[in-house]
Symmetry: C2
Subunit: 336 residues, 2 copies
């Protein structure tokens, strides 16, 4: 059966496009407070996985051993925009490891922050690996490899000790016995979970006492780092930063490519996972805003509420339609 329509995009009097998907809201016991659509199919959480991929970095003590801070933890969780605040910190972090940009296994892409991208075009500077939105995650992997004194070369391979550790953490958090994986845009493995498993894992990270003590502390520190440094884990004007700020300390959220979106809600002891079937990020943003609103953590910030109901603009800047929650999503009731 097809997943329900979660988000619709109108133009004039008609709905022009619709986005289907699945949403799971879980607590640390794995109980589903909301299960909309097929919440059991394995899917890639893509960059929404980063806060879980960062657990070995903190739990191993690597972050403290290298004298790093919550800023680097936020960067390890980031799909950053390649602004100076991101690239300068990642460069300094690599230096602290005795490594350099050439040790990163991710490919290059232009900065996602238009003023930086345009300035680089004007200066005839080609984007380099540090501008990859995942360069913080990769530097986090390198930090663990250095801390464990294992080879840094090949850290992105699924059988490297760092990736084996990430997979073990995920199996523990989700209870999954076997994890399929695909290769992410940045060349690192991305492990598949269902949205129910992801939401449960996020809830366990967000609930004191749900995990053994070193992992619980690592999870709390990761969620706290995202909440304290929303611009470092995304960028200027990005949906993650807007939503985290709007939640005012109650929740961290993290986008992923192809329409995934995850949330960690310590204020409620809940985790959220959303997968839009067709991979549309615009729909994942609206759906996440709707779920956070329903959970009572979104608050009144107009920029965040504008993600809930976003105008469709034409090239003259006139509003010609609307992106909004479907009737199903608008009527959502999440169990207490």
């Amino acid at each position: 059966m097809a997943n329900p329509i979660l988000v619709e995009v109108t133009r004039g009097a008609l709905v022009e496009s619709v986005h289907r998907g699945a949403i799971a809201v879980a607590d640390a016991s794995g109980a589903l407070k909301l299960a909309l659509g097929d919440v059991t199919a394995p899917t890639y959480s893509r960059s929404s996985l980063k806060p879980m991929q960062a657990i070995p970095l903190v739990e191993s003590g690597a972050i403290d051993a290298f004298g790093l801070s919550d800023e680097e933890i936020a960067l390890a969780c980031a799909s950053h925009s390649g602004e100076p605040m991101h690239t300068e910190r990642v460069a300094a972090w690599l230096t602290r490891l005795g490594l350099s940009e050439s040790d990163l296994a991710c490919g290059a892409h232009p900065s996602r922050y238009e003023p930086v991208a345009e300035a680089m075009i004007r200066a005839q500077l080609a984007p380099t690996r540090i501008f990859n939105n995942c360069s913080g995650k990769h530097t986090g992997f390198l930090t663990v490899a250095r801390h464990w004194d294992v080879a840094t070369h090949g850290y992105e391979h699924v059988d490297h000790p760092v990736q084996v550790a990430v997979a073990a953490v995920l199996k523990d958090l989700t209870g999954a016995r076997d994890l399929k994986y695909g290769i992410d845009g940045c060349a690192a493995p991305n492990f598949a979970t269902s949205v129910a498993e992801f939401a449960t894992a996020a809830a366990r990270m967000a609930t004191p006492g749900a995990l053994p003590s070193p992992r619980a502390a690592a999870a709390a520190r990761i969620i706290g780092a995202m909440i304290r440094h929303p611009a470092l884990m995304s960028g200027t004007g990005r949906a993650c930063a807007t939503l985290i700020r709007a939640c005012n300390g109650q929740a961290a959220v993290k986008t992923g490519a192809e329409g995934f979106f995850g949330a960690w809600i310590p204020a409620r002891g809940l985790g959220v996972a959303i997968k839009i079937d067709d991979g549309a990020g615009r729909a994942a943003e609206t759906a996440m805003a709707a779920v956070l609103d329903q959970l009572g953590v979104l608050g009144d910030d107009p920029k965040a509420r504008a993600l809930l109901s976003a105008p469709v603009l034409n090239t003259r800047g006139a509003t010609v339609g609307e992106r909004r929650p479907s009737a199903t999503l608008a009527a959502l009731k999440i169990a207490d």
Copy 2:
């Protein structure tokens, strides 16, 4: 009931995202050779409508009265990339009308051809209206207004004689009594049809004798102009140009925003319309390539066949997945 999955995007061993939609293939009688999904729901064809919006330009004699050629007809049908071949011709065309870029009602956006967009950033030149992918369509509307000696100002309003003429043509071609409309990205009205109506209208344009004689000649000239000038009606490396060239004179195709794609197939007397529910252009391209292939007009061009089964690349250029027709679309049989 949900429309069928037409296109799927894999990563590793899993299908990561899917695209649902509707496809109609019709002949000039309105008989549906293929009806997949809901082919009767009204939807916007967006820029796929341009070859129909160009009918008054040719049928009225305006194109000949101003000494214009098939190149300008192709530009009137274009979602062009804002390359010099496009903007220089539109500028010369406006001059010939005694008008200028400031008479265009469309907004500005950057060239879609990266070398031009980057060169303009380097030269600190802001994009202007002529770079709007619809500037040829708008200049076509202005040409009709000048030919009819009616106000050029306000030509984009739905009650202006040019738009009234477009709506009348569409009602004739589709048999629809009432046409809803929305405002397109370029500020012109876009009239809604079902995919069945669009496919029928395209088939009528593509079939000699299906229309009264001045309109039949206009339709044949428009389709011929797109086939002869694929780069002018799209741009370097664009899917429309690739598919038209691959069809080797047998068909013209035209993309639209939000996952619409239309085709005119004089070689078979058929019209095609595809709407991807979620608005994804990547899926519309793959679906159109599959339909053209099934109709036996796609040929062997590797660039066109690469739209059928397209690699998903990571930032290092490695293939990590595939965009491909779903089993439903791959097994498609279209009635003779």
